[in-house]
């Protein structure tokens, strides 16, 4: 079962790379993705595989769109800071405690923080995230718990 689950994304990747649907290519893809899938299921599988229900998958799409918008905002904000000759930054590191129960949500949270304006995940210790902020006002965005709630909705409920 795990082998199949691991093999399906591998096969999709193979089809995207080869870009042909000739029987030979597809057959080779199936063979290789099953071999690699068996290996991955044996050695790489964590305790908690990222399985999403259909509703969560729908929320994930919305979340992803929101995240893309945040990324663009973050890059523009970095541009403002960098191009300003006075360089208006006062970095601080804050510790933020969360209530996630799955590794998937922790990964998503850490990466989302890194991609949202003015914040960067520095270290993760269990459910405590150490976050480097370019200025104190960016820390407030994280402390408000908005991002955390969105991730809880996607991955844990």
């Amino acid at each position: 079962m795990r082998t199949t689950k691991a093999a399906i994304p591998l096969l999709a990747f193979w089809l995207a790379i080869t870009g042909s649907l000739k029987p030979v290519d597809v057959a080779l893809g199936v063979i290789f993705s099953l071999i690699l899938g068996a290996w991955a299921a044996r050695y790489l599988w964590g305790e908690d595989a990222p399985v999403l229900t259909l509703r969560q998958a729908g929320r994930f799409v919305i979340y992803f769109a929101h995240l893309l918008w945040d990324i663009v905002r973050a890059a523009i904000q970095v541009g403002e800071v960098v191009l300003d000759p006075r360089m208006p930054i006062a970095p601080i590191v804050i510790a933020h405690r969360t209530s996630f129960s799955r590794d998937v949500s922790r990964v998503a949270f850490a990466n989302s923080i890194t991609l949202t304006p003015g914040t960067l995940t520095v270290d993760v210790d269990g459910n405590t995230f150490y976050i480097h902020c370019l200025a104190e006002r960016f820390a407030d965005d994280i402390a408000s718990g908005d991002l955390e709630r969105r991730i809880l909705r996607v991955f844990e409920r």
């Binding site: 970095v78 930054i89 970095p91 995940t121 480097h132």
Partner: protein, 110 residues
């Protein structure tokens, strides 16, 4: 090369130019900002957006084809790997005892 559709070409030109602009901001940030952590801010964000926008522009220029699909796979790769490696580096720096720069300090010297 066969792309003659003017709207598609215009969209591609705009996206590629925006990507180039963000890459430039990332470069300036990497050179100007005072310490490693702030540089990581500039590097991860600007590179993700720059590479993403530029590559999507090229995918639009290619139109519906295998290469466009491959370019989109590349965009996903950059989108996932860039913040992860940025975080990995920041964690290594933090754990080996690199102190974040505070406002008012001089630039660290080598």
């Amino acid at each position: 090369m066969t792309s003659l559709d003017p709207i598609r070409t215009a969209v591609a030109v705009v996206l590629v130019s925006v990507g180039g602009l963000f890459f430039l901001i990332g470069t300036i940030g990497l050179l100007r900002l005072p310490d490693f952590f702030t540089r990581t801010h500039a590097a991860t964000k600007c590179d993700t957006v720059g590479a993403g926008s530029l590559l999507i522009g090229l995918a639009v220029y290619d139109g519906a084809s295998t290469s466009a699909l491959k370019i989109l796979v590349l965009v996903l790769l950059v989108l996932v790997s860039s913040p992860t490696s940025g975080h990995a580096l920041a964690r290594a720096a933090y754990r080996t005892g690199l102190k974040p720069w505070r406002a008012g300090e001089e630039r660290e010297v080598s």
